[in-house]
Amino acid sequence: MNTTQTEWNDARRQIVGNAASIGFAVAMYGVSFGALGTTTGLSIPQTMALSLLMFTGASQFTLVSTLASGGTALTAVIASWLMGTRNAAYSMRMTPILKTSGPGRLVAVQLTIDESTAMGLAQDEEAFEGRASRLAFWATGLSVYLLWNLATFIGAVSVSAIGDPKSFGLDAAIAAGLFALVWPQIKSRTDLSVAFGGALIALALTPVVPPGVPVLAAAIVAVIVGWVTGRKLS
């Protein structure tokens, strides 16, 4: 076995392990989601359909809580779309890395969420001819998909959840996990200012616009900085 093969085996083991740990942290919220779904008037099949088909946690929670707080179906639908908009940017970024086509592309699109994108981009894009990025995306996407759906089912049928995920510190764990995945993506001063700019805009807007919009608004920083720095290159 040559060195590259050994290195790849090590990298692969590490990526799969990280993907599994993200899956478990996210799954605890899946239990909450399942319980929330069935306690706010959705049937078990409807709750499961959201996790199986929509499969984007923020949109799912938004849809269900809008319905629960007396919003109309249309408001709930639009709110869920708004939450899902950032995934469009993720698939723009991931598609050239994943090099998928046909049915593979359709599956990759379904698995494009915060966690799978962050894990994919946290790897060196050139490492092992891109295999590290691709494995990180697929392993994380599949691990979250399986565990999120299993957890939703458990939450939906048992209704009483295992307890508040916050008491286990899982809200902080998910934030820290994503932070650890953004960290290696910041390679220059420009990247750092975009990260800070995005964070500040989102926090500044949090009290004044509905949840979901602040994160989406952070895109403006990438657009402005990308425009200015990209124009210098062209």
Binding site: W81, G84, N87, T95, D171, Q185, V215, A222, G226
Partner: protein, 103 residues
């Protein structure tokens, strides 16, 4: 009614992601577009981390998540493995909450 919300919401969320995946390569290769697409996940994910750390619904709060993220940052500086960073954050927040030191 409920099925309408479930299915319409799902269709829209998938369509958004699909549209992102079918943008032709020659558009994505233009320098300005390329820079923007490279920077988008950085700004969106950083914003998400900020909101997940400092926001509770529509208010800004300082609770157990803040020291947990601070601990995770220190761990990151020392190149700690991913799983440990996640655990350090969880244990910090859970401990502070258990002893009633932070909400």
């Amino acid at each position: 009614m409920m099925w309408f919300a479930v299915l319409a919401g799902t269709a829209g969320c998938y369509a958004l992601k699909y549209v992102g995946s079918i943008i032709p390569a020659h558009i994505l290769e233009q320098p300005i577009v390329k820079r923007i697409v490279l920077l988008l996940p950085i700004s969106l994910l950083s914003a998400l981390v900020a909101v997940q750390t400092f926001a509770t619904s529509q208010s800004l709060t300082l609770d157990a998540r803040v020291p947990a993220l601070a601990a995770a940052t220190v761990a990151l500086k020392f190149k700690t493995p991913f799983i440990l960073i996640v655990l350090i954050a969880a244990v910090t927040a859970a401990t502070l909450r258990y002893f009633g030191l932070a909400s």
